[in-house]
Symmetry: C2
Subunit: 636 residues, 2 copies
């Protein structure tokens, strides 16, 4: 036995443990609650301690930095007690986790998902487990352990090219014998090869999880999937921490050029880790059982997460480093799941049309339909695609983050307390709040409704100017007009809920970018809006958009409502489909090859089109013939 004494900030606790016990065990016995998400597997790197005196045996510390090692840090779960010890516990190792809000929006899209997934693709995840009962070797059958496993796997499945890393080999001989020749290999698809990424004793084939991630410029969403049942277990979202390096993609690329590639990489990896931690924690899943992560996002995000140079994306001729990176080990970029788990990316189309668009096509089936379809993904980096099974063309329209609830003083994510719907009725604005509480802010769908309703009610004119004479809700603050949606006493936040003139302008600019992009793409194809058989609206709003409001705003073309469908966050739906189906992943590669990129800047009257769209709903009212303007405030 040995005595381990832990020194915390204001505390000293100790425990008697047997030599060979881990410091994590010792801490638990002493009543020290060390952070540990992975359950002592050395993956999460949260249980850092400093051994001040005494002898220990240290295993893997690959999550520690050189500086930390120099300063004596070790991971409690990877450190064995060899003698009496004095151990210091740094504050960050016992800090309680900040409460991560369950994202209601993500929860809603979680439900939506099952509509898309499994309908048209064969269920066969990129990472699969196969339980094997191997015949015991004999003199007549003395194949190596390695080939014995391969032989049995090939009896179950046609796997032409197999690869296995040294770390898996190293443990395999005793694992096979300790488990009576019953083992479960985990197979991961890597391009045209299959890797045995791990080997577990016994039958673990009912425990296999994956995470799909939509890396948006503003918002990062993650879903936890049970790869055995194909169920989505949970969903979570957070703002992209790269926001501090710039709201727009190009600003972030510039930050990368100024020696900031590591900042960008770490910010994103940490966001994804936070989401995964929240998901596994809430669902009682072990981090080591998360064997795969599928990311979908624009091409710059892909570069940021991999730590690649993105600078050539922003300069003509907009050449990315890669559009189809091979799967890599998630640990290589600091994503903490199973240490040998794989990180996949939805294949991108070009520098400015990313894997999120590929996901959009995959999940809506545009590549298989004869209906002429327009897909509009409304996000910070808005993308528009037109096509069908014969051809597809796509462009990108930078809208800014307004639709995701940021860049607006009263904006927020579509979570509990957010205003998600606004209507103009009986001379005033009425709204609904997610969770039926006092409003704390307003989310994307609420903002779209709000501006449309302000226009309907005559609170703003066609160019989006607030009309102070029209309502006493319009006041001035520091020289700028604002519309007060709710007074301080009735909000769940510290102060009133208001939208400022400049913010309304931002929103109108955003909608103009998307609408003019769609129009230019149509024109460049010599098509008219009426030629479209359907319009699919994708995006991570707070709820399904109100189609009429979106038309009043001039965000989406004026098509009959039955032709307009909301398809939700297709970026994550596509990522989930690809993770759950090798066939879907294969299709996504074909999709990314078959979409042509159209550069809006190439269009001769780009600026005129954009400017014309900066009115409500548009300078050219004939484009919105179905909208009734009789009661709207006139004039510019």
């Amino acid at each position: 036995m040995a005595t381990v004494r832990f020194t915390l900030l204001n505390d000293e606790l100790q425990a008697e443990v047997s030599r060979g016990a881990t410091l994590l065990d010792a801490a638990s016995r002493a009543g020290v609650k060390l952070n540990s998400i992975c359950g002592g597997e050395g993956i999460c790197g949260k249980c850092k301690v400093i051994v001040e005196t005494g002898e220990v045996d240290v295993g893997s510390t690959s999550t520690l930095t050189r500086e930390e090692i120099k300063n004596g840090y070790t991971l409690a779960c990877q450190t064995q007690v060899k003698s009496d010890l004095e151990v210091r516990v740094p504050p960050e190792s016992t800090a309680t986790k900040g409460k991560i809000l369950i994202d209601e929006d993500a929860q809603r899209f979680k439900a939506l998902t099952s509509d898309g997934v499994g309908s048209s693709v064969k269920y066969e995840p990129l990472i699969e487990k196969y339980y094997l009962e191997l015949p015991e070797p004999s003199l007549k059958d003395n194949l190596s352990d390695h080939r014995r496993i391969y032989r049995e796997l090939r009896r179950k499945k046609n796997l032409p090219i197999m690869q296995t890393g040294l770390k898996v080999f190293k443990r395999s001989s005793s694992l096979l014998r300790d488990n009576d020749w019953k083992v479960t290999p985990t197979l991961g698809r890597r391009g045209d090869t299959t890797e045995v990424i791990q080997l577990e004793g016994g039958n673990t084939s009912d425990t296999n999880y994956g995470v799909a991630v939509d890396i948006g410029t503003t918002t990062v969403v993650a879903h936890l999937l049970d790869l055995v049942t194909s169920d989505t277990l949970d969903a979570e979202a957070t703002y992209n921490s790269q926001m501090k390096y710039g709201e727009e993609v190009t600003r972030r690329i510039r930050h990368g050029e100024e020696d900031g590639r590591e900042d960008l990489q770490k910010a994103l990896a940490n966001d994804i880790n936070d989401l995964i931690y929240a998901l596994v924690d809430r669902n009682g899943v072990k981090l080591k059982d998360v064997t795969s992560v599928m990311c979908s996002g624009n091409t710059a995000m892909l570069h940021f997460l991999l730590g690649l140079e993105a600078s050539h994306i922003r300069k003509k001729p907009y050449v990315p480093n890669t559009t189809k990176p091979p799967p890599i080990r998630a640990a290589e970029v600091g994503i903490k799941v199973n240490p040998r788990g794989l990180l996949y990316f939805m294949p991108a189309i070009g520098g400015w049309v990313g894997g999120d668009v590929t996901s959009g096509v995959l999940s809506t089936g545009i590549h298989k339909t004869d209906q002429l379809t327009m897909l509009t993904d409304i996000g910070t980096n808005g993308e528009i695609l037109i096509g069908n099974s014969d051809w597809m063309m796509s462009c990108a329209a930078s809208a800014g983050p307004a639709f995701e609830g940021t860049g607006i003083r009263s904006g927020m994510r579509a979570s509990r307390g957010a205003i998600d719907k606004v209507e103009f009725a009986e001379g005033d604005l009425i709204y609904s709040v997610i969770g039926d509480t006092k409003p704390e802010g307003i989310c994307g769908s609420g903002l779209i409704d709000l501006v449309a309703s302000l226009f309907e009610g005559g609170f703003v004119n066609r160019s989006g100017k607030l009309m102070p004479d029209h309502s006493d809700r319009i006041e001035e603050e520091e020289g700028e007009l604002k519309f007060i949606l709710e007074k301080p006493s009735k909000t769940g936040r510290d102060g009133e809920l208001a939208v400022f003139q400049s913010e309304i302008k931002n929103l109108i600019n955003a909608k103009a970018a998307i609408y003019s992009g769609a129009r230019i793409l149509l024109k460049s194809l010599d098509l008219d809006i009426d030629d479209l058989d359907q319009l699919l609206i994708a995006g991570g709003f707070g709820s399904y958009l109100n189609r009429e409001k979106a038309k009043i705003l001039g965000l989406i073309p004026d098509l009959p409502s039955e032709k307009i469908k909301f398809v939700g966050n297709t970026s994550i739906i596509g990522a989930k489909m690809a993770l759950l189906s090798q066939q879907a992943y294969e299709e996504s590669r074909e999709i990314s090859e078959s979409v042509t990129y159209y550069d809006l800047i190439d269009y001769p009257n780009y600026f005129e089109e954009f400017t014309a769209a900066k009115f409500l709903p548009h300078t050219d009212l004939s484009q919105f013939g179905s909208v009734d303007f009789s009661e709207k405030a006139g004039g510019d």
Copy 2:
């Protein structure tokens, strides 16, 4: 500028350098001769220093242990000066390298090699470089950097499945642009896929080296190959440092079972590193330009080098962990060449017939001939193979290290100063020495000659007993008879050169193991010695064996001399062929599949056969009808 002060054991030296310079540069300016084999690439890990005061920027230190990092060690070549510094230089970082003897035996086989290589296989190394001049991207041709490289490679060569690691991607965008779109990818074959293991700027296609290694139980031999010209540049050999854990393979496997897997792994990796260091140093080759290592050895050695469990090889039914490990990164097992260089293994046949036998077949072409051939590889772990293009069968006969000059007090490697030939003439023994100097010891071929000559001269009887009455060269020392080959004054060593009774017995046991193995294998196939069309003798002796002496000793079957050929160290010749030819490597995989393993212990009269072979030349003289015994000493 900054002042860097170096403290050595008995010295203090300093230099003024600009900020940003590496400590390796600073040391060189200060006159401190730091060890550095890789030329400042952070590969060899020899230039360790401790920064005691001042500020530095530390790059990769992956070759340092956790303990070293904790104690402040850093690699001088990876550390940039940021301020005035005090640096302590540990003694091991300036120690002059121990002189590594150029192995004359290895040098000889180096010449032999060219006979085997290139004759029947297509020259196309496993690792190749291709110089590419890429078309600069344009709006019309804006493929990603990644696919631009692939496209151009595929124009040069049919490469279906390509893989590239993240580390290569990370540097590629600026590398392409900084080098005017002229780059040289290095491609390595990994099973049925091809990996871009590195990308260099400009044209480096004329600089590409590989090392072939024969990992013997007793001796490790390495050849340095120019993969561009296919020339063998140099050769080097050393004893296997695992000897300290047991002369025999089974003893070492036991050491591994007793928590010694790491000992075995490190011993071998260090030996190979020492050989590679000597080779690159002598030939002005940069370590980073060594892109591949091909190892050939018995199955246990393969396990030891990879750190795999070998224990099941020694227990029935003798199941190895793997016989055909995939290529891995050499760095994964601590072999220090290009950090992304690949380590290949000749595929093994079974637990006791290794890749060295596969090499033997490959390099002698047994798998392609209709001649019924016996291949005998005379080494510590002797292997015998019989067959032709139709079938092949092989067995292993553990002979011990006597033929490699160890386990014999006067034994030595076949290097300068070794007696390599002995003859009985004019009533006495005469010998020749490698390098024509005073004899320092006796190597394998010399020992075989010696015992045969002792028998010819009547100094030993048929059972190998020294006959003290026959010569005054036979004396007693501490109760054991010995034969004095040379008196102290005439040797290049400290004392006489003698062979002891027990050593002669060991040698006879060794030859009996090999001869009886050959005989049992023939019998089990219902073949007679006369059925053989040829007998190929392989092994790392000091020189070609004297066929007549080997027959007198009873080491090899009594076939007409024209049917007996010496084929040298076929283990390394085969390894070189496979490294230089993808086709040969592919053939080696087929060979390993087509050889049947025969376990000698299965033979009902194994022990009787072995015992009968413990005479000179054999109990059954009729098996050696061509040997003239009229003048030999009779009796047992």
